[in-house]
Symmetry: D2
Subunit: 305 residues, 4 copies
């Protein structure tokens, strides 16, 4: 996110715009807590995880009164354009706000879940992918040395985008996502097949959205008669110095967002479409669901054979 | 490369093909040094840098006699399809070979230089990008603490793709690529402007293709009257555990390569086109030059302001 | 462990000894499953996590019959010296075995828990420390951005060595170890004090040995009226490429172990004592408990103020 | 260094001392540029490379007039104790200054070169070691794939401490340090011996202090008739997030430094002696030369066989 804040600030400043950052996101917007951002005030942050503006999950903002307060700030501070950096929740907030204000709103998709309709990739996804891959490479050392099966739970909220990318790139034996019903018998059959081939260790990558992975592990233990270990990859996936690709996307998305504002084109989100930087309507992004390619899952099955 | 070897082997095996690996690339092909590859023989290699088949730069293969020997091996070993994993040099060899054999040849672009026509990205590029970014983040610590200007030379052979991506994502003050003439006066002016703004440290990312960076540093020192340090990022850029994205590309490229072979479609290279996996003719890839977007350079200039 | 296996093999070979590795540790020893190790067979493994010999937790070995079988293997294979690389459990096994055999036994302490009496540091401890530190640095990004308190559970079995080192080096606000009774009121008081100082985020590093960290988080949430997140750092701590220091210790410990064998000095463990490589009796190591310095905990409290 | 600044600040503050930081080290001391440091002003810096106080190599400070100016600042600002974090050069400056002032001076050894008499390890050494090890692990991927010999030049100024630790832990075939005369014939013999054993790739770790590594590579190429590649590991070794161990040393050294000040015990440097935190006289540290253990070099030779 810092890479996006830096890029928006410097690009907008170069076009003679005044740039402000709202502290703690919606909360700052509702309570008029803003900070002038200058090219120098965003120096040395491109490589930092997190966000210098802080963030919050505001319950008040979800109420009509909260939206009204935010719209009032935009009006009293004479803000012409608002760039919202965040995920689906933030974009739904932005859509609600767009109905109460004339300020141009542009969404910049930043989320490790990669579950936003209208972009092939979100800022932060590549970073989370690599954090998870590095951790699972380490877990596999133990899995192989101890000849044991591990379930590794990765993030992704209700969707399986992160789990598929992680599973495919660590060579997971099995990938479980919310988009496909979990079938214990199939899992057990696969593990037994692997065992028969002399492959005694295994990595099952499970999206957090599939439900209770601890219980799943116990069920597999019972059905397959083997020991199963669980490792929940936690909040480290959300932080850390962003990868080159995440920083690049942040720069390119910010560039497009400022371009849209300069053209007076609001209520859109920027994104990656067919490998190019593009934009779609904010409303469309909120209303549609991004499909998960099951081809990748099939590919993963063959690749881990 | 190992990720690609693993993926090709397992995908081809799943389609009941027999898979062989040629030791040291062209050298093994000329001298009939091949190794049967089975799903198990490529286990545990997805995260390893380098290649289990080794590689070589064969001078003999560049001669008609060398090409003839390779074609003879393909014929005597009854090889129906040959997958060449490599960069421009390998593809030129593949093109020459394709004129002497009926074996279907498919190129899989793997190169940290990202300079192959017909694909938006090559296997290994993202890995090299992140290695360089991590190193320069560390160098910047010293640059800032000592308030000093560093030239950091990155790889990329005759092209600037890696330098642009690296420069843009480390927030380099100046990016120098072979595609744009180096103008010492402009560099000095930029550094003086930064100094006037209170920005006393700086990172100049220079592609190896621009020529002698040591001499460049001395010229800048002389013209600008400041101390300039040089750091040449070396072979570490070519190795290391591949990033998630490089592994993903390897899997997807391998999948496409095997699909083309199964369809009897040869003399092509697979690649990423508009964000999707695609292929173009091997001859076209060899004959055309991939353009470098100068828009990214302009963006970098604003972003580091 | 691989670094130790490599070092033992090459050092022993250089002294004209024959070297064998037992597959899966005790299991291989009981069942005469051994593998000749030559300098070339341990090439390229110094940087790999895990162990090429695999490992197992053998229940049978804990019985007199199991010990007998192992002693028989040592006798029938004419093994003069046995080097046991492992932790407390392995050393207790070694001690039991030493009573049934004349083979010289040397323990090489390898454990991420650093809880072995007779050495200031174990192979693997520094690696686990750095893995945990890197993850918590990432978690702190989120903690600060969201202004939230995190409990991070680290490994260490029944002891707090890893937790103290991790907590001290990530700047944890609170460190909880099994050696000190957990006092919820003190934790809450500390968090409130920090909050009053404007420090709204916090990291509590908790050793796994303190008990149920989930319940602890709920208690703190209830008492302090704040949201608390839990992140359990899992098996990644046990794997991964070893740090320079862990590799160095492996080399030095192996050197000492081979030296002891050559001198005919058995039933000892090697270790680091006052910063130098030394050894103590195996029996003494098993019978005594390594003390945890509480001074470091006090230092951590001041340092995170 | 930041970890040490943080620790000194918080520890001294906890003892009711006022803490100031001098900007750019000696330069700030000569020119009375100081900054009040409070516990909160050193928050969030433990994991950052470099130093928030900046640094400089001051030529003026090396003159009697410069020393005098610094002593005047100490006197006019009524500074009771001065903690100097740095290497040999800084300590020589501190010694000179100690002759012109009554302020208590304590040296805290921070240097990637580990060449300070009076401490077994310096802050930053472990970090540089791991940076170098990680890079060389990547270079070895290329060395093995291409079956080539690499010279890797590491830092260390006039000494070989870093080179020995790096070489021993990456499994270098040859380690070259300034303390031992470079013998080209021996190097060539070793490479030929390895080649005869089937080991076609190799890593030669050379300390920067041995002289021109490029020329060395050319000589080896000529004598041995093989291709040799050179990689100079640059300034990345000086930066980056410190390892757990470097942070730990920073904390412990700072603790000892503040303790010495509180006792009124000046003109000493803190350090690690026989694995424990200790101190010796500043003068003794400056006058004596730390010995390099050649045993480690011999061990490395056997280990890479």
């Amino acid at each position: 996110m810092n890479a996006a804040i830096r890029a928006v600030t410097r690009l907008a400043y170069s076009k003679s715009l005044h740039v402000f950052g709202f502290e703690r996101g919606w909360e700052g917007l509702m309570n008029d807590a803003l900070r002038t951002l200058m090219p120098r005030s965003v120096g040395g942050i491109i490589q930092l995880g997190g966000t210098i503006l802080h963030t919050s999950r505001s319950l008040e903002f979800r109420t009509p009164a909260g939206i009204k307060k935010a719209a009032d700030t935009l009006s009293s501070e004479k803000i012409d354009g608002l760039i919202v950096v965040g995920g689906n929740g933030s974009f739904e907030g932005a859509l609600a706000l767009s109905r109460e204000t004339d300020t141009l709103i542009i969404g910049v998709p930043a989320s490790i879940d990669n579950d936003i309709y209208g972009t092939e990739e979100t800022i932060g996804f590549d970073t989370a992918l690599n954090t998870a891959v590095n951790e699972i490479d380490k877990i596999r050392d133990t899995a192989i040395s101890h000849e044991r099966v591990f379930i590794v739970e990765v993030m992704g909220r209700a969707r399986g985008f992160l789990a598929v990318a992680v599973g495919l790139t660590v060579g997971a034996e099995i990938i479980l996502v919310p988009e496909v019903k979990v079938d214990i018998r199939k899992i057990v059959a696969r593990l037994e097949e692997n065992n028969a081939k002399g492959k005694r260790s295994g990595i099952i990558v499970a999206a957090e959205g599939i439900g209770d992975t601890r219980k799943l592990g116990e069920q597999i233990e019972k059905e397959a008669g083997i020991e199963v270990r669980l490792s929940v990859l936690g909040y480290a996936q959300r932080g850390g110095s962003p990868t080159g690709r995440s920083r690049l996307l942040a720069n390119l998305f910010a560039d497009k967002a400022v371009e849209l504002l300069m053209k007076g084109d609001g209520n859109r989100i920027v994104g990656l479409n067919k490998g190019k930087i593009a934009s779609i309507g904010l409303k469309e992004s909120c209303e549609r669901e991004k499909p998960l390619s099951l081809d990748l899952l099939k590919l993963a099955t063959v690749l881990s054979s």
